[in-house]
Amino acid sequence: MFNFTVRRLLFTIPTLLFISFVIFFILDAAPSDPTGNLPLTIPPDVREKIRASLGLDKPMIMRYLLWCKQFFINEPLNLLDQWGLHLGDPDRLRVISFQTRSPVVDMIAERMPQTLWVVGMSYVVGVMIALPIGIISAVKQYSWFDQLGTFISMIGFSVPTFFTGVLMIVVFSTIVPRDSFFWFPSIYDTTLKVTDWASFGAQVRQMAMPVFVLALYNAAQISRFMRASMLDNLNQDYVRTARAKGLRERTVLLVHVLRNSLIPVITVIALGVPQVFGGAIITEQVFKVNGLGQLLIIAIQGGDIPTVQTLTFIFAVLIVLFNLIADILYGILDPRIRYD
């Protein structure tokens, strides 16, 4: 398994390079433009000069190689710099955003906390409620619990977050009076630092609504897969055998069935994790969380190729990584699947 992992990791390098090139190619081909959002009062010839100053007059392949150099060489060296290890030319250019003229990696680092707090937490909460709901729904198929769970999860999945989010704000930020305990802020304060209980409370409050909205959405999907997979396995003979052996029902379910049912669910969960880092564009926008999703969407709208490229690439790395983790987990959960 270890060798499998290392080999796959080595194999990811050319894969990721290829992916990075494809992404760059698409970004370059896309018709959005860094001057597209500027006021029309800026005349066309000035726009051309702005484009030139951003290096957009150079051929695509040169710009790609430049990005590679900045991302794969200059950024790691810069990281070493911060750890006190100075190598090479200190004046090297980092990956600079078109829009903010600041290093993209720093912006990503700045946004990581709120994304992890809100989107990450919602994912954890989503999974935590989805698994038991899925399991119970399957074991007690067609019970009232199952029916209710199905109903809520379907609503949760089919009603988009741009609606549920606004609904929550209308109810809990405008209808509920400001001094009430049930009032929640509609705008996330990214500068809030948790230093004491009061600020912790404030943090929990401002996270409550976005986390709820997203968790509902995540839980809906995962609980569906969990339920289906459990149902599949509950009808297998080995379950009967296990019961016949006189094992306790709890053992049968939690040891035998659950383990086997988790395989497709693991895929879904693992595939969802990179999306945490991708941020939740709509929810972030509704609650003004300004995490990675918002960074990405603004960059895309602004034709900010270095930012989009870097974010998307990091995203790609995570996807490849978590797919690998999913594969390894398959091997652990199902000894029949062998990697050698």
């Binding site: 194999f11 894969t15 290829f18 992916i19 494809v22 992404i23 698409i26 970004l27 081909a29 896309a30 018709p31 959005s32 067609y142 029916q147 199905t150 109903f151 379907m154 609503i155 999945f157 089919s158 009603v159 988009p160 741009f162 609606f163 606004v166 609904l167 209308v170 405008t174 999907q221 569906r224 897969f225 289906a228 997979s229 149902l231 599949d232 009808n235 297998q236 395989i263 497709p264 693991i266 895929t267 879904v268 595939l271 990179p274 990405l296 969407i297 895309i300 989009v308 998307t312 690439f313 995203f315 790609a316 996807i319 490849v320 797919n323 999913a326 398959y330 199902d334 029949r336 699947i337």
Partner: protein, 301 residues
């Protein structure tokens, strides 16, 4: 002889059994009735209803439900019921078709990758690539490349329909592919697959006969979720300028426009939301029932 008598029995085929089982699932039957009703409504409703979705009664804007407009009117004075009916046509068609493409692609790639070890690495890296692609720029590229060509070939509405369905389909198959592959990997090691091999069953029939039926249940879930996903994605696309022309209502778009006026005219946000949710719910129950009905182990119970 008895032979003939018994011969008739297998003619009754599994599908009859499946239907018998399906019928015993109240949720599934209810879901199906509901789904068929919605389909009929959106198919024939616009022909019967006395308002067209393009009628603008501009002086009767933002009205609540009334006898003339049972679901009220929107910000331009469109009859909401006519809009929901017309929007449903597009949304359902987009939802079902895009889901179909996505499920087909996902299952196809998942099965190939899981079954043929040699293809696994390549196909899974392809999946990684698609998962990693930034959706929005990709969409913009696709629009730029194909919108005009399709518009000229099929007219503005059909052209855009093909584009949207294609776009949603090719950007949402990856999860299905990964899940199916995982299941196939496990399934491939089962002895009955080996048994079929000893018979000399060629790979394509092996897949159709032995592999696919046994990975139906995650596919079914993906399909249900896929419809909802496609309906919502379509609305997001129309706000990127990739969607249907502005005077072409769809459920997702109606919901999104109405969300802004949620406090002003709550009814307008409720109807499209309800339509989407109930459709997805009914499809889900149908899928549930179908999955049960297709599984002989449950059918026997």
């Amino acid at each position: 002889m008895t032979d003939t008598a018994i011969d008739i029995k297998p003619q009754r085929s599994q599908w009859a059994d499946v239907w018998d089982q399906f019928k015993t699932h109240p949720g599934a039957v209810l879901g199906m009735i509901f789904f068929v009703t919605i389909c009929l409504l959106v198919l024939f409703g616009p022909l019967l209803w006395h308002f067209s979705p393009h009628d603008m009664m501009i002086r009767d804007r933002n009205q609540g439900p009334s006898w003339v407009h049972p679901l009220g009117t929107d910000q331009l004075g469109h009859d909401a019921f006519a809009q929901i009916l017309a929007g449903g046509r597009v949304s359902l068609l987009v939802g079902v078709t895009a889901m179909g493409i996505s499920i087909f692609l996902g299952t196809f790639i998942g099965v190939l990758a899981g079954y043929f070890k040699r293809l696994d690495g390549l196909l899974m890296r392809l999946t990684d690539l698609f998962l990693a692609l930034p959706l929005l720029p990709l969409l913009l590229v696709i629009i730029m490349l194909f919108r005009d060509t399709l518009r000229m070939a099929f007219g503005p509405e059909t052209g855009i329909f093909i584009l949207i369905v294609f776009v949603i389909g090719i950007t949402s198959w990856m999860q299905t592919a990964r899940i199916v592959r995982g299941d196939v990997l496990a399934l491939k090691e089962q002895e009955f697959v080996l048994a079929a091999r000893s018979i000399g069953t060629p790979p394509h029939r092996m897949i159709l006969r032995h592999v696919l039926p046994n990975v139906m249940s995650p596919i079914m879930v993906s399909a249900t979720l896929g419809i909802a996903n496609a309906i919502i994605t379509e609305s997001a696309l129309s706000f990127l300028g990739l969607g249907f022309p502005s005077d072409f209502p769809t459920w997702g778009k109606l919901l999104q426009i109405a969300t802004e006026r949620m406090t002003l005219n709550p009814a307008q946000v409720m109807w499209p939301g309800l339509a989407i949710s109930l459709t997805v719910l009914s499809v889900n129950y149908m899928g549930d029932g179908l999955r049960d009905a297709l599984d002989p182990r449950i059918r026997g119970r």
